[in-house]
Amino acid sequence: MTFPRIRTSPLFARGLIILLMVVTLLPFLSMLSAALAPSGTYPSGLEWPADPQWGNFAKAWQVANMDELLLSSILIVLGTVPAAVLFATMAGFGLAKLTTPRSAWFYLVFVIGLTLPFEAVITPLYFEIREIGLLNTRGAIILPLIGLYMPFSVFWMRAHFMSIPNDLSEASQLDGARRWQEFWMVQVPLARPAIMSLGILLFLWTWNQFLLPVVLVQEPNRRTMAGALGAFQGQWGTDIPLLCAGSLIILAPTVILFLIFQRQFVAALLQGAVKG
C-alpha cells in the first residue's frame, strides 16, 4: 500500500523544523559564548568574545577535579548497569517463560513501580543506607539505582521474551542446569538488541542521575557527573564563564557518545518512551 503522499507544504515544514532546531541549540551556543568570556566577568547572552578564553575549560576541569568525577561516574555506571541488565534479563525471561498464568500477578508487583517518582522513596532510602553504613559511598548510589531500575527493565525484557515463540525454549523439557545453559547460549544472544537498548537507557539515566547523589553522597568526587555539577554550581555559580565551561565539560561525555551511536540512542529513547 504505497500511495504517493501529498506533501502539504514542504517549505513551511522545513522552516518550522529549522526553527525548532535553532531553539534547541540556542542554550548550548549561549553557554559556549559565555564560557569563552574572561573568567570572573559578566558576559552577555550570545556574543562571540573578542578574545576567546579557551583556557576556561582547562581551569574548570582543574577546579572541578574532572578526572576524579569522570572516574567516579564510570565506576557508578559499571557498578549499576551490567548488574541491572543481568537481573532484568533473567527476571524478564523467568516471568515470560517460566511462570504459569496463575502466578502472573507476580509481574504486577514489578509493574506497579513503573511510575514511582524516586522522591517517593528517597527519605527512607537515606535512613536505610545510613543503617547499612553505605552513606557517602558509591554503593549508596549503585544499590538503590539497580532496585529502582527494576520495574522498567524487567518490563522491557519481559516484553522482549514474550515476543519469542515458546517452542524455541521448550523443544525439550529442560531442567535446572540445562535451562540455565539454554538461557545463556540461545536466549541471551537472541535478546541482544533489547539488551543493548536497555543498556543505553540505563547508562544515560545513571550518568545523569542527580537526586540520589545529592541526598546520599556528600563528597562530590564520589558522585555522578550530574550530581557533582550541583556542587560545582554551588561553589562557582557566580563566575558565569567558569560555570558554563564546567557545565559544557560535564555534558560532553554523553553528547559525544550520543553523536557516535546516534541511531542506537534515538531508537532506544523512542522505544523506551513507547514502552515506559
Binding site: P27, P43, G94, T123, E128, G176, L269
Partner: protein, 316 residues
C-alpha cells in the same frame, strides 16, 4: 504451550497428574525462583521496603535525628496538613502548572511538525534533525537547568532578543520574577521534551495509511478536517505516550528546579519533589515529607492510569 498444559494439570477437573508432570512443574517453579529472585530481592530491598517505610513514617512525627522509637504516632495528621496547608497546596498546584507547560508546547509543536511533513524524515536532513532535537534528552537535566538559567539571566539571550526587537521594557530577571518564574521553568521542561514528542509524533504519522488522506481529499476535506478526522485519531496512541511521559516528568521534577531557581522566588517554583527533600533533610519533618511523598505518588498514578486505560481500550 506447556504453560497451558501445566495450568490445566493443576486444575481440579483434570485427571490426576502423573508424577513426572508434577516433578516437572516443581522444577519449573524452582527455576522461576532462580531467574526472578535476584531482581525481586534488590527491588524489594530498595523500592518496596522503602515504600513501606514511607507509609510508616508518614504516620509519625519524627525529626530523623533521634531513634525512631522516640517518634510520636501522629495518625493521619500529616496527610491532613498536606491537603490543607496553603503552602503545600500551592506547591502541589505548581506541579500541575508545570505539567501543563511540560505537556502542551511539545505536543502542539510536535503535532504541527508531524502534520506538516507527514512522512518519516529521511536523508541527511532527517538525521541532523533527529540528532539535534534529541540532544536535550541526552544531557543531564541539571545541565539544562544551568543553561537556561543563563538564558534567563538579566544579561542572557532572552533579554538580549527582547531588546533587539524593541521590547526593552519587557526585559527582566525571569527566574527571580514572581509572575514569570514558574512559566520560565515550565519552558525549560518543554525544551527538554520537545524533541522526544516531535519524533514520537513524526514516527506515528508516517505509519498512518496514506490512502486515508487520499480518501479525505476525494471527499473534499479541508486541511483542518484532515487534521481532525485523520491525523488526530491516527496519532491517539502517540499523543497518549507523550502526555504520559511529560506528566510524569513534570510531577516528579526535581533536578531542573533545584539548579534553576531552588524553588524561589518565595515558593513560586517549589515542586513536591524539592519540598520532600527540604522537609526531610533541612526542616527535619520526616513524617510530613513522607506524607507528601505518598500523596505525590498517588497523584502521578491518578494522572497516568486513566490515560493508560484509555489507550488499552482503544487497542482492543
Amino acid at each position: 504451550m506447556t504453560h497451558l498444559e501445566n495450568a490445566t494439570a493443576g486444575a481440579p477437573k483434570a485427571p490426576a497428574p502423573r508424577p513426572a508432570a508434577t516433578r516437572r512443574a516443581r522444577r519449573r517453579r524452582r527455576d522461576a525462583v532462580m531467574f526472578i529472585g535476584p531482581a525481586f530481592l534488590i527491588y524489594a530491598a530498595f523500592v518496596i521496603v522503602p515504600l513501606g517505610m514511607s507509609v510508616y513514617y508518614s504516620l509519625l512525627r519524627w525529626d530523623g535525628i533521634g531513634p525512631i522509637s522516640g517518634a510520636t504516632f501522629y495518625g493521619l495528621k500529616n496527610y491532613i496538613e498536606v491537603l490543607t496547608d496553603d503552602d503545600l497546596l500551592q506547591i502541589i498546584g505548581n506541579a500541575f502548572q508545570l505539567a501543563a507547560w511540560f505537556t502542551i508546547p511539545p505536543v502542539v509543536l510536535g503535532l504541527a511538525v508531524a502534520s506538516a511533513i507527514r512522512s518519516q524524515m529521511a536523508g541527511r536532513f532527517g538525521t541532523a534533525t533527529r540528532t539535534i532535537l534529541f540532544l536535550p534528552q541526552v544531557i543531564p537535566l541539571v545541565a539544562a537547568g544551568i543553561a537556561w538559567s543563563w538564558m534567563y539571566d538579566r544579561n542572557g539571550v532572552v533579554n538580549q532578543f527582547l531588546s533587539l526587537i524593541g521590547l526593552e521594557s519587557w526585559t527582566r530577571g525571569w527566574l527571580g520574577d514572581f509572575t514569570y518564574a514558574l512559566p520560565a521553568v515550565g519552558i525549560i521542561g518543554a525544551w527538554v521534551l520537545l524533541g522526544l514528542c516531535t519524533m514520537l509524533l513524526v514516527t506515528g504519522i508516517a505509519r498512518i495509511d496514506g490512502s486515508l488522506y487520499e480518501a479525505a481529499k476525494l471527499d473534499g476535506a479541508r486541511p483542518r478536517h484532515e487534521f481532525r478526522f485523520v491525523t488526530l485519531p491516527g496519532l491517539k496512541n502517540e499523543i497518549g505516550i507523550c502526555v504520559t511521559v511529560t506528566i510524569i516528568q513534570a510531577l516528579s521534577s526535581f533536578d531542573i528546579v533545584y539548579v534553576a531557581t531552588a524553588g524561589g522566588p518565595g515558593i513560586e517554583t517549589t515542586v513536591p519533589g524539592l519540598e520532600i527533600y527540604r522537609l526531610a533533610f533541612a526542616h527535619r519533618q520526616v513524617g510530613l515529607a513522607s506524607a507528601l511523598a505518598i500523596v505525590l505518588m498517588i497523584l502521578v498514578l491518578a494522572c497516568v492510569l486513566p490515560i493508560q486505560w484509555a489507550l488499552r481500550e482503544r487497542k482492543q
